[in-house]
Symmetry: C2
Subunit: 324 residues, 2 copies
């Protein structure tokens, strides 16, 4: 059996909602960009308009427990849910050290639920290629909801903005209220704010979040609601789902959903073009000898680093000038 036959068989199983075929296709797409292309082209007309949620927050805010409960809630309502975890500290990954986190895996056994962890960063920063490929596969598989979990501690986390339609920021009382949202630009892109572990307090955090919200002039016609949850008790999940539905209705009715879909595709094409071009050029040009020579020059201070680099690049710049 050749590879193409193999993929065709897998895809037909996949379209009959075989979770194993889904898992296998994800792995194949991750390992070989050429196969990712083939799969992408074969599934072109199978979109189910999955609704994509982004969920982000600092480590220790209980994102995974919250997702666990939200997924249970959605699954009980009969929805199909695909989770993509980009959080390196997530218990869904292979890195779960302590036994007490293993219970989180229970939801994986639900027939309507599929969970996949991916490496945290793409080669050019931002969400990795795998996240987009998996989201596309989930969509073709027929997921009603796709939940993308990222850890919100750096500027690049706002890249979730380029994939999700509703972004949920999870905070907890006592972690340094401002620390959790400050500077990273996360508050500007959040559509729903969650105060998790709200049995530990949260009144002051709520005041703070409200204050910070005031300082953003929003032109989206949407003021992010602040939902209090105690994820480990399942409290506040109904309210969170209601907020998701409200925001979804808002973006659908206002035309923002369509606009987001267009922008997401456009950005994605741009990123793919840049990364593929880059890879092609780096493959073409090997400069090991030049780099080694420059390293010794800089180490001995006979040349500064920028002069060394420009000396290496000069001939290539001249050639690139001639392209087109």
């Amino acid at each position: 059996m050749n590879q193409a036959d193999n993929i065709d068989t897998l895809i037909s199983h996949f379209l009959e909602h075989d979770k194993k075929a889904l898992a296998r296709l994800i792995t194949l797409a991750e390992n070989d960009p050429e196969i990712a292309r083939i799969i992408s082209s074969k599934l072109r007309n199978h979109s189910h308009n999955s609704y994509i949620l982004g969920l982000t927050g600092s480590p220790g805010t209980g994102k995974s427990t919250l997702i666990n409960k939200l997924v249970e809630f959605l699954s009980d309502k009969g929805f199909k849910i695909g989770v993509i975890s980009v959080d390196p500290t997530s218990p869904y990954g292979e890195g779960a050290f302590l036994g007490d986190r293993v219970r989180m895996r229970e939801i994986i056994l639900e027939p309507n639920v599929f969970i996949r962890s991916v490496a945290s960063r793409g080669s050019l920063g931002g969400l990795s290629k795998a996240v987009f490929d998996i989201a596309k596969l989930y969509d073709a598989y027929g997921m009603d909801y796709i939940i993308v979990e990222t850890v919100g501690a750096g500027q690049s986390e706002i890249d979730i903005y380029n994939l999700a339609y509703t972004i949920i920021l999870v905070t907890v009382p006592g972690l340094g209220d401002s620390v959790q949202v400050q500077k990273a630009g996360i508050l500007e892109i959040a559509d729903i704010l969650v105060i998790n572990k709200s049995d530990l307090g949260g009144d002051f955090l709520k005041i703070n979040l409200n204050m910070m919200l005031e300082s953003y002039t929003r032109e989206r016609g949407w003021r992010p609601p602040i939902i209090r949850t105690i994820a480990k008790e399942g409290e506040g999940i109904t309210e969170l789902f209601q907020a998701i539905q409200d925001h979804r209705e808002h973006v659908e009715r206002s035309g923002q959903l369509n606009e987001m879909k267009r922008t997401h595709i456009q950005k994605r094409i741009q990123v793919l073009i840049e990364s593929l071009l880059f890879k092609q050029i780096i493959q073409k040009i090997s400069m090991t000898n030049e780099i080694n020579k420059a390293t010794e020059n800089v180490l001995s201070e006979s040349q500064d680093i920028y002069s060394a680099v420009y000396e290496i690049l000069k001939p290539f710049f001249d050639k690139i000038e001639k392209i087109q």
Copy 2:
């Protein structure tokens, strides 16, 4: 006065330890790569062999307070210290929301101390160009110690490995012990482990850290010590400094320090080459029309995203093939 004169004047003030000239040179280098090159070349023979420390840890572990106390300690001993904060939640940045964090700025007033915050990520992921430029300027200025603070929550944080000689990982009890070190690869690169806020506990965390250390086969001839601190009380800072000195002696004696310096320069040259080449090519090629057309095709599902991208890139790939 033309720019070159201006820079020469600044540099002569800088070499007389004028903090304002240092601040100005950093800003100039940040804003204009061409000036960064000029400064770099003019300061080529002014290295002071600053010892570079990397300090990383999750948000909420008290990194900034710890740095504050460590800097005070080093300054009291008569050392010159330069701090670079790559942590978007650091109180040294402009993003400090709450008044109670402002007290952290006190150390800025010390004549021997200089602190600078930078944006968290470079365009290609990893530490931004500014971090390396500032470290170089600190070195030429005559800093004895350079401390680089990053927030350790993603895989890319391990990039501090490409700049620092001694890496300190800060943890706290109760934040989810495994969460703080798991998967991110930080434990593999840490030379000193700190349990901060150890008045809140930490026995279990210490056992856990020790356990995790066991699972790494180290060929560095160094077992990371675990130091307990209560930064806000200044407790454990002497022990932390002792550990830094021990590790420094270890890398100096074993020849690892020289090897690190060589590797850091080599990696840095590679990154500069790639990012400059990339920028040059992206500038050369504008494909707005092609991208817009492809976006509509993918949105309407008449083309899948990879086919669309390869169709755009094909002619460029053919041209790149002809380079060299």
